[in-house]
């Protein structure tokens, strides 16, 4: 569905992404993790077509939509207008299916998006992206700045979306434990290069990765799940 081959992205003379190859198959939920400034956002913006690729190729044979970092609301417009604008390129602008999937949004539909909490805005951002009826959903930072409970709720919605609607998801996430828990497969990006990839369960056991990124956090994750 999505294949990146040796992709290089530059901003002036700075190289943000340096020869990345990866692939996502239909129906998968794949994570792209790594520290701040690793080039994750550049990569996802290139897939969305808003950042040019200096060399290499991106092959995407599906409709995609992005949930951008920082949620990027149309702040002075209502939730419903935000959703309807998500369908800019399609004829079907009825938000009813989104309300069915994310009932909280129906309650908030007349509120201005700028007045919502971070978690509510993230839900609007997801809903707005879903209005384009994407086969591939790109999520740039799901958990950033949100309370764990809110993140857990959003994560449930994504898993449901993936399992019940068959939407393929590429999740960009700094909180690696969360990414590994949600996605069966992951790529680790560091300084513009893929440094590790494979099954999340195996990556989580990799001692080098544990030391570098996880700080023993992986062990904590199942306990959190038990509690919920």
């Amino acid at each position: 569905m999505l294949t990146l081959n040796d992709v290089v992205i530059r901003y002036g003379s700075a190289v943000a992404v340096d020869g990345v190859s990866l692939s996502v198959e239909r129906g998968e939920m794949v994570a792209l993790v790594g520290p701040n400034g690793a080039g994750k956002s550049s990569l996802v913006n290139a897939i969305s077509g808003v950042v040019p690729v200096a060399s290499g190729s991106i092959r995407l044979d599906a409709r995609s939509a992005q949930v951008p970092e920082g949620r990027q609301m149309f702040a002075d417009m209502s939730v419903e207008d935000n959703l309807r604008l998500g369908a800019w390129k399609s004829k079907d602008r009825d938000p009813a299916p989104i309300y069915e999937m994310l009932p909280d949004l129906q309650r908030l539909r007349r509120q201005k998006a700028g007045t919502l909490s971070g978690g509510q805005q993230q839900m609007v951002a997801v809903g707005r992206a879903l209005m384009a009826k994407p086969e591939l959903l790109l999520i740039d930072e799901l958990s950033l700045g949100l309370a764990p409970l809110v993140v857990a709720g959003l994560a449930d919605h994504l898993q449901k979306l993936n399992r019940e609607h068959g939407t393929t998801i590429l999740l960009i996430e700094q909180e690696i434990a969360l990414a590994f828990r949600l996605c069966e497969r992951a790529y680790v990006l560091e300084a513009g290069r893929i440094v590790a990839s494979g099954e999340s369960a195996e990556l989580a056991l990799d001692p080098a990765l544990r030391d570098a990124y996880l700080g023993g956090e992986v062990g904590g994750t199942p306990r959190r799940e038990d509690a919920s």
Binding site: A65, M77, R84, L85, W88
Partner: protein
């Protein structure tokens, strides 16, 4: 008293023209962050094209509509020239619009000569509280109010209008949902052309326009737009009317040559008073 009412109504009428021109500034600035200094020029285009079409025996109504739409197309072309190159900074685009405005003045002299031209309006006069007022001036007010209602319905209710607002409010998100932000910018210039053209068509029968009218019209419009913080069209309407009335009263009781100075002083005063809120809005 009669003099006062005459000044008041003609002030409101010219203020409406300023407001139409000013709302053109607002629409373009909201979407592109460019201050479009062809705004007065577009009004002159409207007035002059209408005069030529009327001389060519097109009937009233059709001539004016064609002139307004032509100004819209010219606005679109200006927008394409000023902002068409990807990544042009707003300040450079502003300079390009200044250049286009100067170039247009030469074009006006070439095709319409140097003398002010006043196409025929609807003619006649109407009694307003005992004062005889040219009916054209009342028409200006009525058409302007309709134009503002249509403009705000367009932005608040129509999908394309919402797309324009979205492109203005968050260009990055707009791009991600597939809105072509550059095309929205061109469209805003086209709308500004229609608004400017409308101002020119309406005002020319009572206030003749020439190649030199663009600056006073643009200044009046800009002052009105600054009154609206360069974001609100309704406050721009209010600003235009205040400016028009004060200008006419000054011209009537003091001297006609002070009108432009009044616009400049008002702009200066508003900018100083509103400086904080303006810069806060910019920061958003």
């Amino acid at each position: 008293m009669n003099d006062f009412i005459t000044y008041l109504v003609s002030g409101v009428a010219i203020g409406c023209a300023f407001a139409l021109i000013g709302s053109g500034f607002v629409v373009v600035h909201r979407v592109t962050r460019v201050v479009n200094f062809t705004q007065g020029t577009l009004a002159v285009f409207g007035g002059l094209i209408a005069s030529t079409l009327l001389k060519g025996a097109l009937p009233h109504g059709i001539a004016e509509i064609v002139a307004v739409l032509s100004a819209g197309v010219i606005g679109l072309i200006f927008g394409f020239i000023a902002t068409g190159k990807r990544g042009t900074p707003p300040l450079i685009s502003l300079l390009i619009t200044l250049g286009l405005s100067t170039l247009s003045a030469a074009f006006f002299i070439l095709f319409w000569g140097q003398n002010p031209i006043s196409p025929p309006g609807i003619g006649g006069a109407t009694d307003v509280l005992g004062a005889r007022i040219e009916t054209q001036r009342l028409l200006v007010v009525v058409v302007t109010v309709i134009a503002f209602v249509v403009l705000s319905l367009f932005f608040d209710r129509s999908y394309v209008g919402k797309g324009l607002t979205a492109a203005a409010s968050n260009p990055r998100a707009a791009r991600l949902v597939g809105i072509n932000v550059r095309w929205m910018g061109f469209l805003s210039f086209g709308i500004a052309g229609v608004l400017g053209g409308l101002a020119g068509v309406l005002i020319a029968p009572t206030n003749a326009v020439s190649f030199a009218s663009d600056l006073p019209l643009a200044l009046g419009g800009f002052a009105a737009a600054v009154f609206g913080g360069l974001v609100s069209v309704w406050r721009t309407l209010l600003g235009g009317i205040v400016l028009g009335v004060v200008g006419q009263l000054v011209a009537g009781y003091l001297s006609g040559s002070y009108q432009t100075e009044v616009a400049l002083l008002m702009m200066l005063a508003i900018m100083i008073v509103r400086y904080k809120s303006l810069s806060a809005e910019e920061a958003k």
